[in-house]
Amino acid sequence: MDFQDYKDIWVFIEEKDGVIAPVSLELLGAGRKLADKRASNLAGVLIGENVKNLASTIFEYGADIVYVYDQPIFKHYRTESFMKALLDCSNKYKPEIILYGATSTGKDLASAVATDLPTGLTADTTELDVEEETGLLLASRPAFGGNIMATILCKKYRPQMATVRAKVMKALTPVRGRMGKVIEENIALAEEDIRTKVLEIVKETTKKVRIDEADIIVAGGKGLGSAEGFQIIHRLAETLGGVVGASRDVVEAGWVPHAHQVGQAGVTVTPKIYFAIGISGAIQHIVGMKNSGLIIAINKDSEAPIFESCHYGIVGDAFEIVPILIEEFKNALTREEVSHVREV
């Protein structure tokens, strides 16, 4: 394998109903940095039906090239059809690195592509860098156990591939009118070649908690002792108009459903305000919330690692601090309302 033949940084662009997934835009931001360091191009790979028009957005977010497979067979995501398009593109143009969002689609596709190429695939990356000279991708992810990250390398194969967590990288501010080169591709694929069919897509209308969309998250940990103790988290969240988050240990204990779990095996969140109460601050939790705007930690152990990852820390007993906070807050709210009435 001649590494010289492999260049450029690629991002698989995930699209649904004509909208690009936010994680793909974030990856264009991260990919741009890698491409600049390597003095190479950043390209997006866009696969779908009636998706061509999205190329301009991809350029605005930092790409130089967009490879497009716009064919009816790509109407729905299916592993086999998308994989064939991506393999076709990769074999033809030989990228040095391909990045995918660590979504169910991105992971599914990347795993299949990696097996066929074959090459190495780093999962759920939270930090990305590249060696300027060699092009070696440094993809880091929290390592099993402990507050430790591991950098995973793929030295002997190209392209190098990684799936990257949503909301960890930052999208660039789009530059309106920024242009690039569109390369349209076509692949001979018959419906009979694909062994799965999407019969129907059902959108769930029941309102589910989407903690990844909240501005304020009040997250509680095992330190609250019991499901009853955890109630103060619900009360504070309600008072502040936020939603409830939790560590994995809380979810495992059954105090709240999995949809509330923040972290590596849960959701990555970037609210404006994040409270971590009775949470020790294991790396698997931190990677899921460290980009929040304002992080406030309350823990009775002054040595708890969470204090290294917060903006403001209070050493104290949650059962003492939180009720005072709720009280103060209610007072502040009524004062606000009163002054508001006076202004009117």
Partner: protein, 272 residues
Amino acid sequence: MHIVVCVKQVPDTKIIKINPKTNTLDRRSAPAILNPYDAHAVQEAVRLKSILGRGKISVLSMGPPQATEVIKKCIEIGADEGYLISDRAFAGADTLATSYALSKALEKIASVDPIDLVICGKHAIDGDTGQVGPGIARRLDIPPVTNVIEVSEVNSNDRTIVIKRKLSNGYELVQANMPCLLTVEKEINKIEYSPLSNMLKAARYKSHIWSVSDLGEVNITQLGLKGSPTVVGKMFTPPKLEGGKMLDGTSDEQVSQLMEVLLEQKELLNVK
């Protein structure tokens, strides 16, 4: 119908403790268990077999000799046969080498009794990549369907299966030709209590144990550490954040300092 479920032995990360001084895993505290997602995968095979009224369930694991314990657990849930591939040559495998070794064992199992369906967990709670399932499917050249929350129909006549695949805002109904490979979410079923007869069978059960030489034609350069394109580079503790201003004083004083900070975000907090 022959269903093979791939199962992994993992440390129980619920019980596992982290040594706060060294930031590393206290392995003594970690008993080995059946990967929780794989328990649901076996349970689903049991459910399908009972609905169809016939069939056979095999489980396959790669791991050290002690992994026969998780195979026993699967027999207890209702599996009929269990296979363990265990060899020094498999050690240090990344997901590419893992899917290769497992696919070779699946081929051997299929040569005696053709496989209609392979079921894996969505991910293993230790390595946590979710890459092995689709990898096996590619190597066997069968279609993968990941994130399955329901098996809605199995049509033995035209050899198709209809499943619900979880999406971020709902699900899709997918029809796949069999044989195919599914990876399942926990919500697919509830683990049922096992009948006493299963427990008795499990206690006495002896797994088939294969080494590399039992697997027929295998390219050893694709196994274990040697066959793994990914390697772990450096391990590091992430740099500490600067922020970390500690508030001090009594509880009341701390809260009032915090209130000052919070009230700077007034617009946000007023939206109720």
